[in-house]
């Protein structure tokens, strides 16, 4: 057990690539938490995808023992939070478990959109915040200007910001001291009934579900009978431990402490982040306020390329669901793509991560259909329906009006690219809410339809600003607009998996781009193929893919009939990557690439 005064709990908030993971590594290393020989970069990012993309997806925690200059030993608990907007909600929840934050800003880049989004969450959680200026080893570092920016844009006192280089280790002792001296110790009552917050949970192949908790009051011990107050479920604590970051058993956890336990829990879905954990008997009276479960906002269809893999896909999704309670899934049948699943995600990155894991870890070949948001259909009879899939759009005569989700997007961009950014937002039906300047960077705030953002907005933003813009958003609720379903007809037959919801004013333009794209994406066939975009029965754009004119082997290679047979087999294997639709074969990548609006 550790005295409250000897505990500090904190997280690190930063824009992506500003050095959060590197700083965490240095803190772990310089305190000897992990021996040098076991040290690998980005220690807390354990998934392949996290390491590859350099982003943190899952919250993680590490307990660091630190002997401070005052001669006393402290326990520092770092909760590493995800760094991407898709997981913003998870960030806000993890922050409720700690009392302070290190605000890391890259001194050569300055404040970015995610710096803002994340620091506001820290402020909302009443954190004490210590600004840290990273990468001062870089010649381009401008610590003084960045300090001013932190004060102007965020409104935090940056006079005592700590200059560091997480890469070289410079300034790391100052950071450790500041954690002890500037962040508050947690509060709590050791003698009160147990009250712990469920911060996160994940599935481990050997241990089953591992639950991360922050104890508020009371003490939890191995063998205790506990109760989850929201779900009412009862468990016995099998194993109690802290993460250093290796799981290290501990006899008990008292107020202010952070650790994990296992309790023969089968799947992550049985646990609810924000739930209150207490003892089965003599439990606490009032639960913590808890959190709303996160809602999927982006939906898409996932279909096996090879129809025979449907069961394998179902199994793989079930296994992933053990560890990720934040996606939704239901079966979907498409005339074009056969049997598959409609899945809902927290955002586009989340979608990509899940799809990547399905393909990689379960060796599946998947067709992903266009991502769509959830539209609200207000029916004439007063009913309100959620539309997750444009293919399910009912007959318009029954629909009174349609609402779509809107977001508040914050974009930080150097002046030079401001014009391009404004044009992009305008093109995507954005409404400007704010435009301010901080130094030579502009901060634009736009009210945008989520539907216009989920697909390739971020890619476009990166390309028009050469990567200099940063972006973050939050959901803002629903608003009515003139939305219609646009169908795509290939060889006069509608291809359900290609239908999308669009704003009526943009339908012609979108339709034209889509049919042009499809003309490029679908290989020529032995006959000509009309490709049309239509709203209801009205064609708004059309292209014709002319018939294939040449595909023949000129040379004969004498008697090498084997070669011909192999060529045929190769071509047939190529065909497997296509989907037969009527008489037309559509390559799998067409289903998503047809929607890219430009570039």
């Amino acid at each position: 057990m550790t005295e409250l005064a000897q505990i500090r709990n904190f997280s690190i908030v930063a824009h992506i690539d500003h050095g959060k993971s590197t700083l965490a590594d240095r803190l772990i290393q310089s305190t000897g938490t992990v021996a040098d020989r076991d040290m690998k970069a980005q220690l807390l990012d354990s998934m392949d995808i996290e390491r590859e993309r350099g982003i943190t997806i899952k919250a993680n925690t590490v307990r660091i023992d630190y002997k401070a200059k005052d001669g006393k030993s402290y326990v520092l608990n770092l909760i590493d939070t995800p760094g991407h907007v898709d997981f913003g909600y998870e960030v806000s929840r993890s922050m409720r478990a700690v009392e302070g934050s290190l605000l890391v800003v890259d001194a050569s880049q300055g404040v970015e959109a995610q710096t803002l989004a994340n620091v506001y969450q820290a402020i909302d959680a009443n954190h004490e915040i210590v600004p840290v200026l990273n990468k001062i080893d870089l010649p381009a570092a401008e610590p003084e200007q960045v300090k001013a920016q932190i004060e102007d844009v965020i409104g935090l006192d940056a006079s005592e910001a700590i200059p560091i280089s997480a890469k070289s280790g410079l300034g790391i002792p100052d950071v450790l001291e500041a954690i002890v001296t500037r962040l508050p110790a947690p509060k709590g009552d050791r003698n009160a009934p147990l009250k712990a917050m469920l911060v996160d949970s994940w599935y481990d192949a050997y241990l089953g579900v591992v639950v991360m908790i922050r104890v508020m009051d009371g003490v939890i011990r191995k063998g205790d009978r506990i109760k989850m107050m929201q779900t009412g479920a009862l468990y016995g604590v099998d194993r109690l431990a802290v993460l250093k970051p290796k799981m290290t058993d501990i006899a008990e956890l008292g107020p202010g402490e952070i650790g994990v336990f296992t309790a023969s829990i089968k799947q992550v879905r049985d646990t609810r982040v924000g739930d209150t954990i207490t003892h089965e008997r003599k439990g606490c009276e009032t639960a913590l306020p808890g959190f709303k479960p996160s809602q999927p906002v982006v939906f898409c269809g996932l279909f096996p390329v090879d129809a025979a893999d449907f069961e394998a896909l179902r199994d793989a999704i079930e296994k992933l669901a053990l560890n990720d309670a934040s996606f939704s899934t239901e079966m979907e049948t498409s005339a074009a793509l056969g049997f598959g699943f409609r899945m809902g995600f927290l955002g586009l990155l989340h979608l990509e991560v899940v799809r990547d894991r399905l393909e990689r870890e379960y060796d599946l070949d998947l067709i992903t259909t266009a991502p769509s948001v959830v539209f609200k259909l207000h029916m004439k009879d007063g009913e309100v329906r959620d539309l997750h899939n444009p293919a399910d759009m009912p007959d318009l005569t029954y629909v009174d009006h349609i609402e779509e989700p809107r977001i508040k997007a914050t974009i930080m961009v150097p002046d030079d690219y401001l014009g391009d950014v404004l044009k992009l937002c305008q093109d995507r039906r954005g409404i400007q809410m704010d435009l301010t300047y901080a130094g030579n960077r502009a901060m634009v705030v736009y009210d945008l339809p989520l539907a216009e953002v989920v697909f390739d907005f971020y890619d476009r933003l990166k390309s028009v600003t050469k990567g200099y813009a940063s972006f973050d958003y939050q959901m803002m609720g629903y608003r009515e607009d003139w939305l219609v379903k646009m169908s795509i007809l290939v060889n006069d037959e509608p291809v359900d998996a290609l239908s999308i919801m669009v704003h009526r004013d943009r339908a012609e333009a979108r339709g034209r781009v889509m049919v042009e794209k499809l003309k490029e994406l679908i290989p020529r066939h032995m006959f000509k193929i009309p490709i049309q975009a239509a709203i209801g029965g009205r064609v708004i754009a059309r292209e014709t893919l002319s018939a294939m004119r040449k595909d023949v082997t000129a040379k004969c290679y004498g008697g090498d009939a084997t070669r011909k047979r192999k060529l045929l087999d190769k071509q047939k294997a190529g065909k497997k990557k296509m989907r037969q639709f009527g008489k037309v074969e559509i390559p799998q990548e067409a289903f998503i690439n047809a929607l890219k609006m430009d570039g």
């Binding site: 006959f527 040449k550 023949v552 008697g559 045929l568």
Partner: protein, 384 residues
């Protein structure tokens, strides 16, 4: 009746050497400083004896010396091979012996001796009728040399043919029309017109991958070039009897017809393929591509082939269709049915007829003039 008898029986000999490697060529050809022709003679003769053991009850229809550049072979070597063949098989009355030749002056000097050895048909790789394009194709000869060699060949052999490669870089439709007309005035009764194919693993392939092979026709122009070629040759009395081969009726390459009619053929030499029927079934034979590897195999194991593969009847049906549909005469549905044990679904055939790509008449099907340029797609559909 054994299926192969529909096509006949021929013998292919591969000579794998050239004086230089052409940048577009992915045939099994190698440049060697020197070649020990006596050693090769021993190997060829041993292989001929081995094949004869299993086939000497047959009548041999054709022999084909292919390459590489067989016109680099010693005429004595060619003579020794043909003598041995004559000793081992009964030969057909219209026995055809073709040799592929490059039209250089040195090669032309050997033509008469090849004729004396028993070669009665020469196939010359002229490739282009203008010097700029010959250079770009990496050829060692000029147009003038090719014409001289061709004249010698005409005087020496009963039958001569030549090859041209078209759809070259920067070749306009009209350029080709003119060149083809000139070629027709040279042609005796047979020639082969191949559209340039950029093959992986060749110099052209690498250039194309790097984006440096410019001026090649796109699909539409290549298709137009193919179509006018068919029209012009047909009007001149040399219609296409195969995708890339033209002849006055009756002057077709009998050896190549054996392949396309899916007869039996023995393949001797590095990289050579064969199809041989035995009581056990029909074998696909193959030899290693490396000249030295092949020689050593023959010398030490007494057999140049890698282990044979027995073809299932459905593989045979597929091969018959893949080969036979290249011919204007098409394939006999009954023969395919007998091999495959099933018919090609009627709706598949009518579907392709409706698209104007296939004809069906008197028990045969074949590609129409519209179907031929998209033959691969047609075959995929037929064999789906």
């Amino acid at each position: 009746m054994d299926d192969w008898r529909h096509g006949g029986f021929g013998l292919y000999l591969h000579w794998p050497f050239c004086t230089s490697k052409c940048p577009y060529c992915d045939f099994n050809s190698h440049v060697a400083a020197q070649v020990d022709q006596t050693r090769w003679q021993h190997a060829y003769l041993a292989e001929i004896d081995r094949i004869a053991e299993e086939t000497d009850d047959r009548v041999l229809n054709t022999v084909f010396f292919g390459g590489g550049t067989p016109s680099l072979m010693d005429p004595d070597l060619v003579a020794a091979i043909l003598d041995r063949i004559g000793a081992r098989w009964r030969r057909a009355n219209d026995f055809e012996v073709t040799l592929e030749a490059n039209p250089g002056s040195v090669e032309a000097g050997r033509f008469r001796a090849y004729g004396a050895a028993g070669v009665n048909r020469l196939s010359m790789g002229v490739q282009a009728l203008n010097d700029r394009d010959l250079k770009r194709l990496g050829r060692m000869h000029s147009v003038a040399e090719a014409r001289r060699a061709f004249d010698i060949a005409r005087d020496t052999f009963g039958r001569v043919s030549f090859d041209l490669i078209y759809a070259r870089q920067d070749q306009a439709l009209d350029d080709w029309r003119r060149e083809l007309t000139e070629a027709l005035s040279m042609a005796v009764d047979h020639f082969s017109l191949y559209q340039l194919t950029v093959e992986e693993g060749t110099v052209f392939g690498a250039r194309a991958a790097a984006g440096h092979l410019k001026g090649l026709p796109d699909e539409d122009r290549a298709s137009d070039m193919y179509l006018i070629t068919q029209e012009i040759c047909e009007a001149a009395g040399l219609p296409a009897y195969e995708i890339s081969n033209h002849a006055r009726p009756g002057s077709e390459s009998r050896h190549n017809l054996i392949y396309w009619r899916y007869g039996d053929y023995a393949g001797i030499g590095p990289g050579a393929h064969g199809r041989l029927t035995s009581p056990a079934g029909r074998w696909a034979t193959e030899a290693p591509r490396g000249p030295e590897e092949w020689l050593q195999r023959v010398e030490t194991a007494g057999n140049g082939e890698t282990p044979r593969e027995l073809l299932s009847s459905s593989d045979q049906a597929t091969e018959y269709l893949l080969m036979g549909m290249r011919l204007s005469e098409g394939i006999v549905l009954g023969r395919w049915q007998a091999l495959r044990g099933a018919d090609i679904p009627a709706d598949r055939i009518t579907g392709l007829i409706d698209l104007g790509l296939l004809w069906h008449s008197e028990g045969r099907i074949g590609a129409t003039s519209t179907g031929r340029p998209v033959l691969n797609a047609l075959l995929r559909e037929l064999l789906a």
